[in-house]
């Protein structure tokens, strides 16, 4: 039973990974690509890890995969935020169809 649930989790995670990388190829802008791919791939890899944990049980490898899930959830949004901030400060322009840019408005208000 645990094996069946583990395989279901692993394939859901693979679908998330695949669509995230498809968004990395298809979307028009740095920020859109970042938004699609980082969330999808982080969630997909965490789902794969949880499936591996369900298939292995409470062996050392399973507990290590749980640790890796916690580490990924803590660090992947931080790195995505840092990359977005660095891209905006280095002067990469938005896509021409994008509507609002709060970060530039905040910077203009401060200076």
């Amino acid at each position: 039973m645990n094996n069946i649930f583990g395989i279901i989790f692993i394939f859901v995670g693979l679908a998330f990974d695949f669509f995230g990388c498809l968004g990395l190829v298809r979307l028009p802008d740095v920020y859109n690509r970042l938004q699609a791919s980082t969330k999808c791939v982080t969630l997909g890899t965490c789902s794969i890890m949880f499936g591996v944990f369900l298939m292995l049980g409470f062996t050392p490898a399973g507990i290590k995969s749980l640790l890796c899930i916690i580490f990924l959830i803590l660090t992947a949004p931080v790195s995505a935020h840092a990359i977005a901030r660095g891209a905006h400060r280095s002067g990469v322009k938005l896509w021409k169809g994008s509507v609002v840019d709060r970060y530039a408005e905040d910077k203009e208000g401060k200076e």
Partner: protein, 132 residues
């Protein structure tokens, strides 16, 4: 690049053609003659996990396309970060059909390296020093 004449452009197209042929050949070898040394034959679910590894390999090819084609530097940095997270998933998947538990250790170390690399590259994008 604009000054180059017709022979250089033909040379470039030929080079792209040869590279595409090599990549397609590697895919054909992987699909029609799967790697049997890597997996133990006794353990279950081996055909299922080979399909899963093919899907992850296709996602990695998408990331490599973005690294080659990306118009600005942040595109390439995003693609490298995503490639790191994908390889962590790859290591976790390899753990079950081979029966060796140290693949997950490689995954944890790779996640740490990828995080530190993304932070350093974003600092470099902002144009600051590293000790700030």
């Amino acid at each position: 690049m604009k000054e180059s004449g017709a022979p250089l452009i033909a040379m470039k197209k030929l080079r792209w053609f040869i590279g595409t042929l090599i990549i397609l050949g590697i895919f054909a070898v992987i699909i029609f003659y799967p790697i049997k040394i890597l997996f133990y034959p006794d353990l279950p679910y081996i055909p299922l996990f080979t399909r899963a590894l093919y899907i992850l390999l296709l996602s990695c090819i998408f990331c490599l396309y973005r690294i080659l084609k990306g118009p600005t530097a942040p595109d390439r940095i995003v693609a490298v970060d995503i490639l790191g997270i994908l390889i962590v998933g790859f290591c976790a998947l390899l753990c079950i059909p081979t029966g060796r538990s140290w693949y997950i250790d490689i995954g944890i170390a790779w996640a740490l390296q990828s995080f530190i690399g993304a932070l350093a590259l974003s600092k470099y994008l902002e144009g600051k020093d590293f000790d700030e």
